[in-house]
Assembly symmetry: D2
């Protein structure tokens, strides 16, 4: 299981909080400390007014991230992974050589830091992930590759099954899906991947790192397109019981790298680890002061709350939103814009307020119809 | 503003994590570090199979909590508050003398630790909070008192307005409501309190510390009675935009102690502090790397996400749950059981599985109807 | 029980269809054929571009309606009632004398037609219904009076209980509530009426004629203010099981004139009559080829549909809307405009498109916030 | 456009009401009076305790239905169609010869009555409809064939496209889909049919006769499997605006027989006819006293209701259910049982209460999980 990649809701910063976040996931049962290297490529750091490039370099961030992950991993029995993800260079249509140069800079730091393996993830285009895998396998390290796609495939329209086979043929040892969709849509995509891999006679392991958010209404680019992204997603957050279900279904499907992406808190990973306690031969450290299946409620003051201290109760609960003025599904704003589209191209200046007003127009028209 | 009281979703433990949690709220804009002393009375520690009493005493826990809060408060300009809450002794009908003995033990530790003021909160019965205020005011420290009641009043049926007047007359300097209901129902209750205080000519300040959860379907004992309590509440979690709205309405109503209770994460408090930045004369530390009203989205790759970088967008968003098989409101399980009821009485043994099965029966019958 | 007043969904016209509609309700169990005289006063017929006044008079419409109702009533054991309702004259602030003149014109026709009793209903202001009752009682016929108010009272703010007492004191033999709110909100209002009548020592019977629509989100002027009114109300339509529940609760509360208003189809009235079959000593004619509580499903081809042939199944069903992009509650557009307000005044010209555009503006602003 | 087939909500009976129902649809714009011959085959009349066979024969019912339809058709410019549908004989696995015998008996009556064409509809298995078409084409009359399938195909798993081609090759002049799914899922299926017909180079017209109910949560056997079927479907009823949208999309797809099935009221068909008024060169008779796009609201008393007198308003409305305790989607009970399954076989005795209790068990288990 891999740690959560986002830090959105933690307001402190610096080494202390990064370590603490790794530690919480380690205690929750994570086997892997994934270094916080997401989108930390030089081209991304200088995109659209991001001022980070003035203070930080790809090298500096990736190096610090690897060291912090290793420190915490050594507190337990954790592995450290360095991660690559998609680049503005590719989206801008600047070609294979330029794109791989960006990957190489990150990979070099991972090699120097002797991470245990590489994660190549959050790619919307199978072509780009093939290029990233190509760079990664040259290190001789194990390579885990996953795309942020749903059951329908990548943004160029390549089906999920074909993506899986291409990732495996490019050299990845573990292939699968991360981000963009909820646990159950992710498993739907993995089912297609598994079938295609079996049909092609390719033997690799599978990885699932879904959102901890319900997204039945998401299409091509997943939760990015939902109107709630990224600051109104709370009502979609999965419960721990959703995670028990996800872990069991993933395991039964044959997935052996079972983790999480945006929205995962440590308690979600703990639920995954608890569901699979028998299979893993142990409970996570964080389960020590915590009874499985809400057993702790046996101590609650109110008798009707004590009555909820059962697996049956929580498994069958359909939780309400408390929001009667909100619908249960949303209409995605837009989807399907692929690499090379002018609106996706690298641009150093930040978007102006005038441009924002212009961008917001189509939505108003659409909603008016 | 006060820090969150719960630690439910943090899986680490010990002094490091307690300090870190205080620190996040301090950075988010909290003026008060409320020591983690909730329900840390000796009678509670030995109730219904809670084994804490074997390792920990009221004195030990409260003392450690005060010291940790003070350490972090000194990193900024924070105040430290010690807190009292309702007791099994009262619920068991053991009378004023016994109940006040429990309060006294906690208050003594607060005095020794020289906290800046006392919070007397989470009381369901106005009679018990009067007893707690009585013990607290003897210390000479400022006393903030709040009940976990909705607009309808306390569990004995005493209206919210009357509760406010009684708390004030018992000596509290700030009175109000905490926990059990969402921000907007809490403000509804405070409106009644304000009217009653004005009518009675009593001058005190007001405090609001609501849930960060939507609970329009909750009745007397609030979210405790909702079937989702406490492990399926995710879809009810407030967004930061809900908190902007709450902070503004609370301020306009005249509330000057604006905080939060269960469900509040640091980013919720940051939203409160940002909404009131002008009134407070400063933004919170945690706003440094963060643009107000989703301004940071101007840097997002996808143009339709950049279009969401506006106050208007997020203020009018009605976020979907992504859960089409769940309803928006729930039927509370039960409510209105008051002090003295046999099912609420102190009991050292944990509830057995047989007793749980027995307790679960009425629900099945009710649902079958 | 009274017949439905609206003909919205029947597209044929003329005596044949009016007779047929009465007949369906008679077969469904209605004891009363309420003549189709709603809003058929001369001032209403010439309001806001209504061209009916060029072809039809109050006298002509009311006379034809009484005769058709009587024809069908004589096919069974039905009673015939003539009905008065609120007037543009009152809303325009033209005073008691003018308003009563309008009532008198309708009442005269009812007297000539020897209807069995009078229904004075759909009044939003207690003052106006008092004037209508005053005119009605002079005929010597029994007078049934009901207002379209919710538990909060009439548009002038007079509480429901006081309205009941005033209607009774004005001479009505049966008092209650019709239209504007759903069956359960209507019964809530009737509970208040009953309490006030008891307290005042006034002995009259009660009438309930609610909508067959769920309106928990409606305020002062009820479903009129909901954005779905009047052409998007389908998802709110009550099931026959809602009507069983309504009939039982109304009966238990002591209501003895149990009918329905907008949205009631004959099958809803049949459900009311079937629920009370024992109390009434008979089933409605329309139950002859129909088994109670979905018993007919025992003949269904699919076994899982046969499994639904039970009272328990339908009583506990919470029917889904099949509309995941819609919320369960709406924000009313506006409410509380009372008699005399300039926007309510009589006006012979139809509203122009420009005026409509102007009227639509506030909504757009409100939704934008 | 075809009339509604169900009479569920009309409580009167006999020739008068049958004629009246035809008449309402004629006025609403229907070109076709479809005789009420649904399921009126001898085997169906004696299935599972249906006592109709003691009083009525296939011959008697079909003959009366044809005559009544013709009477009303002659009041306007209507066509008369006789209809065949699937048989218990086929579901019981009794083979082609026996099944066609049942069809032949109905077809003979249609020929004698000189109906204008035949509708072969409501078939869940393409094999059976081929047999029905075979019998029908022998009459020399035009044959319209439609199956109750969704985009996924028939119950044997034959895709929608293949079903269309097979119906056309069996001799049908118009092919398509009726019942079981909502308008938009039906059009999704028709898109697949059109593509397959084009690919196969087969030239036939298309027919759509969907439900007037929203069923996004329905699978194989459509709304039959939804827990709300058939007595709790109200919240799913389409608005007239849904029908405008449906009519336009159907027309744009090239569908030229645009009608409706269960749930369609005359006003739904009127909306279809009004949307296509230009294409058809006329408005329906029933539009005479009715303004398009809610124009009649310009005469409403309340100004905020007058503001709703616009096409834009109703096109963008997302109507609420007023049911906050209900979800927006349901879990279908079961689906996919096909011809020959023992639970579907013909059986003259009615299901007993014991058998119902037995059938209801799996649901309770399922819900408990």
């Amino acid at each position: 299981m891999a740690p959560k990649k986002g830090l959105l809701q933690r307001l402190d910063e610096g080494p202390v909080i990064v370590r603490q976040l790794h530690r919480e996931f380690l205690r929750a049962g994570s086997d892997v400390m994934q270094a916080f290297t997401f989108y930390a490529s030089d081209d991304k750091l200088s995109n659209r007014g991001n001022e980070s490039s003035k203070k930080y370099t790809c090298r500096g961030i990736n190096d610090a991230a690897c060291r912090l992950a290793r420190e915490v991993a050594e507190e337990g029995d954790g592995l450290v992974a360095g991660g690559l993800s998609q680049t503005p260079t590719y989206l801008s249509g600047l070609g294979k050589e330029n794109t791989q140069k960006e990957f190489k800079k990150q990979v070099d730091v991972f090699v120097e830091n002797k991470v245990d393996f590489l994660i190549v993830e959050y790619f919307e285009h199978v072509e780009e992930i093939e290029w990233a895998i190509e760079v990664s396998v040259k290190t001789g390290m194990p390579v885990v590759a996953s795309m942020c796609i749903g059951p329908k495939g990548d943004l160029h329209g390549v089906p999920a099954g074909e993506c899986a086979v291409r990732m495996a043929k490019a050299g990845a040892h573990v292939v699968g899906i991360n981000c963009h969709f909820d646990p159950f849509m992710t498993l739907e995509g993995l089912r297609l991947m598994k079938a295609a891999l079996d049909a092609a006679g390719v033997k690799v392991h599978l990885i699932a790192q879904p959102l901890a958010l319900h997204t039945p209404d998401a299409h091509k680019q997943g939760f990015i397109d939902l109107p709630e992204f990224p600051f109104g997603l709370e009502p979609r957050i999965c419960t721990r019981w959703d995670m028990h279900k996800y872990a069991r279904e993933a395991y039964d499907l044959g997935v052996r790298y079972i983790g999480g992406c945006c929205g995962f808190e440590a308690y979600h990973i703990r639920a995954v680890a608890e569901e699979l306690a028998t299979e893993r031969g142990r409970k996570p450290k964080a389960s020590e002061k915590h009874d499985m299946w809400a057993g702790g409620l046996k101590m609650h003051t109110k008798p009707w709350v004590r009555a909820r201290a059962s697996k049956e109760y929580w498994q069958s609960l359909k939780p309400s939103s408390g929001r009667p003025f909100c619908s249960s599904m949303s209409q995605p704003d837009k989807w399907g814009v692929t690499a090379g589209d002018s609106t996706l191209k690298q641009k150093t200046a930040i978007t102006t307020d005038e441009e924002i007003a212009e961008l917001a127009k189509p939505r108003r028209v659409m909603n008016g119809k």
